[in-house]
């Protein structure tokens, strides 16, 4: 036994973590943090041979200011335990470990220990949640009445079918919100969902208005369901996922051939050495650990923990969204070119957390508003040249914004969202220039159309006549005479006069106004952080956590393995790997293996 330990203490088992350390020297902090969680705890029962490498790990952890006390004491205790229980049956050992971890874990732990521990117990007892609830009842005798209720609520909330039902409910409400027209007047719903002819036999306007389905996405029912879903998310993360990390830590060496054979993938290699297998697995990216005759290897641990990250990221997004809706200001304004407005006048608070800031005193001056056009005459882009002035009238920032390119200053964001025509500047018989205000006209569909009117003759007469001017954009103005007949089209920049019934008119300029949306949103940073985390963790979740156990039984190596996601590819990958394991010549098996691995 002892000599076996010695042989396995050499190169392979040590070289993995060491090489890892060398790779990770620059990014030591994150790497070791990872190790602290996923790496080290994989040794509740560390073999002697691996101790050196582990201590080097713990040392690195200490350098980064992480708790060390736990790691050492835990290791020593369990290694003793390991020797004692090695002969015992596996089930008993697990129970023993449960007890052990109950003693040891609390002192090490940052997140509230008692409950998650029970979750662990529940899972190790077959994955059902019933043991957990039973235990929580027992625990409640000693603890207060409140905490017992609290645990009961947690157990209910973390129930998967309930969570799925909540998700389905949110989806259904959202679907309903797109089917029912939102934000109309009550009259609209009276007509659309009349009582004498209900949709589907029961759905009338009473439903819509009582339940707030006319403003679904701000209705209490919708928010309530979302909040419930959020609560379930938290409860599930707390009671099921975090304990799962501990369960994952506990899985390690298997000592019995029967247990190994019960894995999803099994194989037996006659005439092979477990060390060769270890080297090959290492080459395939596995973290390999050897203890005497048994081997444990894993890969893609991140894939097992990433779903926790997904849940946390979702919670982050929810928190950010709440902050957005409670603490933001928004407003929109249409400003003619050349005019000013003060940011604070435009903005209105959206919730009770909305706090105005210094930057609200900023004055915005619209220097210029213009459009780019395609050759076909369609608008390519809208631009507004803005200057920001502080209280003393000093320019603090100047930027030309356009759609997709907003201005950001002191937490305020100004977006280009709309435009209109505010005035036409004309010369009448070389007099002027006069500014004619333009009014929006609704004629066909959603195309914008603006018009203005230049009275001719007696302005006070009851049927005043004059010249009409219409424009769709800033490019061309269409002119009609007093009888309403089409006269011609002029471009503002052409300066070409047009003669209408003896009156010479020059269109000097078409003055547009820019439509700006202004907002402050303290939640965006949090939401973006959540977005980033969600993208990353969703991608990592695709990775599959594969574990391999092997046992040297004479010249045979019994191999078992399982994986949690890529179950289809795993056997093929394993077969390819196992094909590479060299077959040993019977007489000199230990030496040869040393030669190969060395």
């Amino acid at each position: 036994m002892g000599s076996l330990h010695l042989t396995s203490s050499r190169p392979q088992s040590q070289s993995i973590p060491l090489s890892k350390l060398q790779n990770g020297t620059t990014g030591c902090c994150t790497k070791t943090r990872c190790c602290y969680y996923g790496y080290y705890p994989f040794f509740p029962k560390p073999p002697f041979s691996l101790r050196n490498s582990q201590i080097s790990y713990s040392f690195c952890c200490r350098n980064n200011g992480l708790a060390l006390g736990f790691t050492v004491s835990y290791k020593l205790e369990t290694s003793k335990d390991n020797i004692l229980t090695q002969s015992k049956k596996k089930k008993k050992k697990e129970e023993e470990e449960d007890k052990k971890s109950k003693i040891v874990v609390p002192e090490s732990n940052e997140e509230a220990p008692s409950l998650s521990e029970e979750g662990t117990a529940g899972i190790s007892n077959g994955g059902t949640r019933q043991p957990a609830t039973r235990k929580s009842q027992l625990g409640g005798v000693g603890g207060s009445w409140k905490s017992s209720i609290w645990r009961r609520v947690l157990a209910i909330l973390s129930n998967l079918p309930l969570a799925l039902a909540e998700m389905a409910a949110v989806a259904a409400l959202m679907a309903l919100g797109t089917v029912i027209d939102q934000g109309e007047t009550p009259d609209f719903y009276f007509h659309k969902y009349p009582e004498d002819n209900p949709v589907l036999g029961f759905f009338t306007w009473r439903w819509v208005l009582t339940l707030g389905f006319d403003h679904m996405f701000t209705s209490p029912i919708f928010f309530g369901t979302l909040a419930l879903l959020g609560a379930s998310l938290m409860a599930c993360t707390y009671t099921t996922q975090i304990p799962l990390v501990r369960v994952a830590r506990r899985w390690s060496f298997l000592y019995s051939a029967e247990v190994i054979r019960k894995q999803e993938y099994t194989d037996i290699l006659p005439q092979a050495s477990i060390k060769d297998l270890g080297v090959i697995l290492m080459g395939a990216g596995y973290e390999v650990f050897l203890e005497g005759p048994s081997l444990y290897a894993f890969k893609g641990l991140a894939g097992r923990f990433a779903p926790i990250g997904v849940h946390l990221a979702l919670l982050l997004i929810m928190a950010g969204g709440t902050l957005s809706s409670a603490g933001s200001f928004r407003g929109s304004v249409t400003v003619p070119q050349g005019l000013n407005f003060v940011v604070g006048d435009v903005l209105g608070p959206s919730g009770f957390l909305s706090m105005p800031s210094e930057a609200f005193n900023t004055e915005v001056h619209v220097n210029r508003f213009y459009m780019d056009y395609y050759d076909s005459g369609e608008v390519r882009q809208f631009h507004t040249d803005l200057s920001l002035l502080d209280l003393n009238g000093k320019e603090v920032m100047r930027k030309t914004i356009s759609v997709n390119d907003p201005l950001r200053y002191g937490g305020i964001t100004i977006y280009q969202t709309d435009w209109s025509l505010s005035a036409l500047q004309i010369l009448k018989d070389n007099e002027g220039p006069f500014n004619l205000a333009m009014a929006p006209l609704q004629i066909n569909g959603d195309k914008k159309l603006y018009g203005t009117f230049l009275p001719i003759g007696d302005v006070n007469s009851p049927d005043v006549k004059g010249i009409s001017m219409l424009a769709r954009d800033l490019q061309s103005i269409v002119l009609y005479d007093q009888q309403g007949r089409f006269v011609g089209v002029r471009r503002p920049d052409s300066k070409l006069p047009i003669d209408i019934d003896g009156i010479k008119i020059v269109i000097v300029d078409a003055i547009g106004s820019t439509g700006l949306d202004i907002k402050t949103d303290p939640g965006v940073a949090i939401v973006y952080a959540g977005f980033g985390a969600l993208m990353l963790t969703t991608c990592i979740s695709f990775l599959s956590h594969s574990q391999i156990w092997a046992l040297q039984d004479g010249t045979e190596v019994i191999i078992g393995g399982k994986t949690n996601r890529a179950k289809g590819e795993f056997p093929e990958e394993m077969n390819l790997l196992l094909d590479q394991v060299p077959e040993l010549v019977e007489s000199s098996s230990p030496k040869q293996s040393d030669v190969i691995s060395g």
């Binding site: 077959g126 994955g127 059902t128 998967l160 969570a163 799925l164 998700m167 389905a168 949110v170 989806a171 959202m174 679907a175 919100g177 797109t178 939102q182 679904m216 996405f217 969204g321 928004r330 395609y374 076909s376 369609e378 608008v379 390519r380 882009q381 809208f382 356009s402 759609v403 997709n404 390119d405 907003p406 964001t413 977006y415 969202t417 709309d418 435009w419 959603d446 195309k447 914008k448 769709r472 954009d473 949306d517 907002k519 965006v524 939401v527 973006y528 977005f531 969600l534 993208m535 969703t538 991608c539 979740s541 695709f542 996601r565 890529a566 179950k567 289809g568 093929e572």
Partner: protein
């Protein structure tokens, strides 16, 4: 002019190749079981289709000057390109016959629909309205459509699984009946004889059953892999869309119909992924969720466009088009 000719040619080549492939598949399926050459050439055909579609997209990109995803027609071409991409990538892994059948026929349908007369008015590449002029367009739309494509593949596999499961159940019942009859019949005959006969029957039956359950397991597995992959794309697509919306309109979430439906799709497939986390997942349950998801993707992709409302009604931007 030359561009439109090239485009025309490429569209028709890709469509005809895919149709030929499907015919070959059907022939090899119904008439001559397992002719390797036919299968091989159909794989080559898919590669040619993929190249044609790529060429088509590149051509459109060159002559319109922007990424070819500004209207429904272009997004459909991109969808069938994604299907063929999914087809091509697993091709190198050699073992995904189920998936390739699904992707092949999906390409035919989308390509057929695109090239059919239904969409003639909108196949002209239009100009980009101001709101679409952003680098986010490429990221958002490619991710969304790749997501749709792989989710559609995954959920189609799930539908196939459902069909097979229910057919299997029926067969089991009929086989059971048969066994019963036989056992009654054999009462007259010697005991040993009957027993051996029954044994034969059951072994035959179980072998057949074994293959079916193998098939179901494979379908289940590949559909879940497809859906997980699609889920990643969908997540990235939705989130990049949200970031883009925050750049363009000042709000990362507007409850626009398209957004809402994309979110509903996301939730449905999240439910699918959760139904699989239980200890003993039943294939049928998650497959039902996936088939609901299939419908919802189409509502999200087409239904919302047909309503023509909201910011995503490709090309009719009431707010910003003058």
């Amino acid at each position: 002019m030359i561009f439109s000719t090239v485009e025309h040619i490429l569209t028709h080549i890709s469509f005809s190749i895919v149709s030929i492939i499907i015919t070959m598949r059907l022939i090899s399926f119904f008439l001559v079981d397992g002719i390797v050459q036919l299968y091989d050439s159909s794989e080559k055909g898919m590669i040619v289709t993929f190249l044609c579609l790529t060429g088509l997209l590149v051509t459109r990109w060159t002559y319109s000057g922007h990424f070819p995803l500004s209207n429904l027609y272009e997004s459909l071409i991109f969808l069938s390109w994604s299907f063929s991409l999914i087809h091509i990538v697993p091709y190198f892994k050699k073992n995904k016959k189920y998936l390739s059948t699904i992707t092949g026929s999906s390409v035919v349908f989308t390509q057929g629909f695109t090239t059919s007369g239904l969409l003639t008015e909108i196949d002209q590449s239009s100009i980009l309205v101001p709101a679409l002029q952003s680098e986010w367009l490429i990221m958002h739309v490619t991710m969304m459509i790749l997501g749709y494509a792989s989710l559609l593949c995954g959920s189609l596999l799930s539908i196939a699984l459902l069909v097979i499961t229910f057919r299997k159940n029926k067969k089991i019942i009929s086989i059971k009946n048969l066994l019963l009859n036989e056992s009654f019949f054999f009462i007259e005959i010697e005991y040993m004889n009957e027993r051996s006969n029954l044994l034969q029957n059951t072994s035959f039956f179980s072998a057949k059953n074994y293959y079916r359950s193998q098939l179901i397991q494979q379908l289940d597995y590949w559909s879940s892999r497809g859906i997980s992959l699609g889920f990643i794309f969908l997540t990235i697509g939705i989130l990049s869309g949200a970031v883009w919306a925050n750049e363009a309109w000042g709000s990362y979430w507007n409850w626009d119909p398209k957004e809402t439906w994309a979110f509903i799709t996301w939730i449905i497939f999240a439910i699918y992924l959760h139904t699989r986390t239980t200890r003993n997942p039943k294939c049928a349950n998650s497959a039902i969720v996936a088939s609901i998801g299939f419908l919802i993707i189409w509502i999200c992709y087409f239904g919302v466009n047909l309503l023509g409302i909201g910011l995503h009604s490709y090309g009719s931007f009431t707010l910003l088009a003058n």
